[in-house]
């Protein structure tokens, strides 16, 4: 068997463009799923029962449905239900954001739950309202504690963006598959794909570890 690694270089434009799409998709998804996660976490913690149920239902639904099904659903079903034309990139973004929001919400919830009652009392005793105490005292500490969990979600998301290739979004995985079907160089293309995902993902994970060490709150 002979290998022809030159196809990778030959198709570098398509691969680079795919990398760009993958990064953009990850960044935009997280940009939605971070505030989204805080929002859903707040809903789950709401003293108003129906709001809290809605938050819980959201998390349990999107956590327990395969992400690829969400991608298909937003692509094929949503345009029919909503009666509007939505470009593939947007439907892919929506599917990923819905899913990652659920995971982020759970991470934030665990973080908020880990802050002891004494910190709440210290804020309240100064005359702060519950929401002031939450925003100034509890949330910043909670966020700092869940940086590793959110980082985990980020690294998962970065790889899971490959799911949008099934709806013809030109991400890294999709473009690689296109190259494979044009060149039949399956081993070279898939190996290069793995190397590229790893080379992009590993430094991100390390960077977040460093952030945590550098800015984490010490007890």
């Amino acid at each position: 068997m002979t290998y022809d690694w030159s196809v990778i270089w030959q198709y570098r434009g398509a691969l680079l463009s795919g990398v760009g799409t993958t990064i953009l998709l990850s960044v935009l998804t997280m940009a939605i799923a971070l505030p989204g996660g805080v929002l859903v976490m707040l809903m789950r913690r709401s003293p108003i029962a129906p709001v809290s149920w809605l938050g819980a239902a959201y998390v349990e639904f999107f956590r327990n449905v395969p992400a690829i099904l969400l991608v298909y659903w937003t692509f094929y079903v949503l345009p029919i239900v909503a009666a509007i034309d939505i470009p593939p990139f947007t439907t892919g973004l929506l599917a990923l954001a819905l899913s990652v929001t659920a995971y982020n919400a759970e991470a934030f919830r665990a973080g908020v739950g880990s802050i002891r009652q004494g910190q709440w009392n210290a804020g309240l005793a100064l005359g702060m309202t519950r929401s002031q105490t939450f925003l100034k005292i509890v949330l910043p500490q909670a966020v700092s504690r869940v940086v590793p969990a959110i980082a985990n979600n980020w690294v998962s998301l970065f790889k899971n963006t490959s799911l949008v290739s099934v709806i013809a979004v030109g991400d890294l995985a999709y473009n690689a598959m296109q190259i494979r079907s044009q060149t039949y160089r399956i081993l070279e293309v898939l190996t290069a794909l793995a190397v590229i995902y790893w080379a992009l993902g590993f430094p991100q994970a390390k960077f977040v570890d460093w952030l945590q060490k550098r800015y984490g709150v010490k007890e």
Binding site: N121, G127, R130
Partner: protein, 258 residues
């Protein structure tokens, strides 16, 4: 409580700052406070003593409505205390110091002291920090303004916590076993700060196991047992001539005679 029983108390010529009337607090089936009546006058240092679980810390947490009461009432400056959800305006007029300090770990010492006025009173940053620095000087930590709680000893953390409470210019200071979590060698520095506050005329309620402090700095001592006030009086009387057997029992358990 008769007026005669209160004669000689600091500030007893005026209405009490805090009045407890038959206060009841339960946790499920456990009765933490079983009809507690007491009063605190302007300028008094009232020390609450008694065995662990006797209700003194609970009473303190009810005083600034961190906990709701089930019966009786607590009157602060002539106003019945509201429920916890509505108590923020009352709490800002009382300072509280906790057993475990509860400094905000993500804030420097200076920020810890400034955050109350900044958040609650809307004080400008520069003004709040200038005042915070002055308070750190007052508790002897002028050089620790930029330090984070994790970089401070227990005694230093507790002094920052006292400064944090003072920043709100409270009318009353509530101390919940402020030295119980401290290494023995740092207890003194915290008690010294508290003593100085008392000498300045601050009205203080102190839940404590430091009997020397209660005796020397306290102006009124209230003895708790099983959610009730067993006995109260000036320190000299309570410590030297306790009227109640349960008070004597409590004192006898304090000294180890193995």
């Amino acid at each position: 409580m008769t007026d005669a029983a209160n004669s000689g108390r600091v500030g007893a010529d005026r209405p009490p700052v805090i009045l407890y009337e038959e206060v009841v607090k339960r946790y499920g089936g456990f009765v933490a406070l079983n009809g507690v009546s007491a009063r605190v006058h302007q300028g008094e240092v009232v020390c609450l003593i008694g065995p662990s679980g006797s209700g003194k810390s609970t009473l303190l947490r009810c005083t600034n409505a961190l906990e709701a009461i089930e019966g009786g009432r607590i009157v602060f400056e002539g106003q019945t205390l509201p429920t916890p959800a509505l108590a923020a305006p009352v709490r800002r007029r009382m300072g509280m110091v906790f057993q475990n300090f509860e400094l905000f770990p993500h804030k420097s010492a200076l920020e810890n002291v400034a955050i109350g006025p900044r958040t609650v009173l809307g004080t400008a940053k520069a003004e709040a920090e200038e005042k915070a620095q002055a308070l750190l000087v007052k508790v002897g930590l002028a050089d620790k303004a930029a330090s984070y709680p994790s970089e401070l000893s227990g005694g230093q953390q507790q002094r920052v916590a006292i400064a944090r409470a003072l920043a709100m210019e409270p009318e009353v200071m509530l101390f919940d076993e402020p030295t119980s979590a401290l290494d023995p060698e740092t207890v003194g520095e915290v008690l010294n700060v508290m003593k100085r506050l008392a000498e300045e005329g601050m009205t203080m309620i102190v839940v404590t196991h430091e009997m020397t402090f209660a005796r020397r700095v306290g102006s009124w001592v209230v003895v708790f047992d099983k959610g009730r006030v067993v006995e109260e009086g000036v320190p000299k009387q309570v410590f030297e001539q306790p009227r109640e057997q349960r008070t004597r029992d409590f004192f006898s358990h304090l000294s180890w005679s193995g």
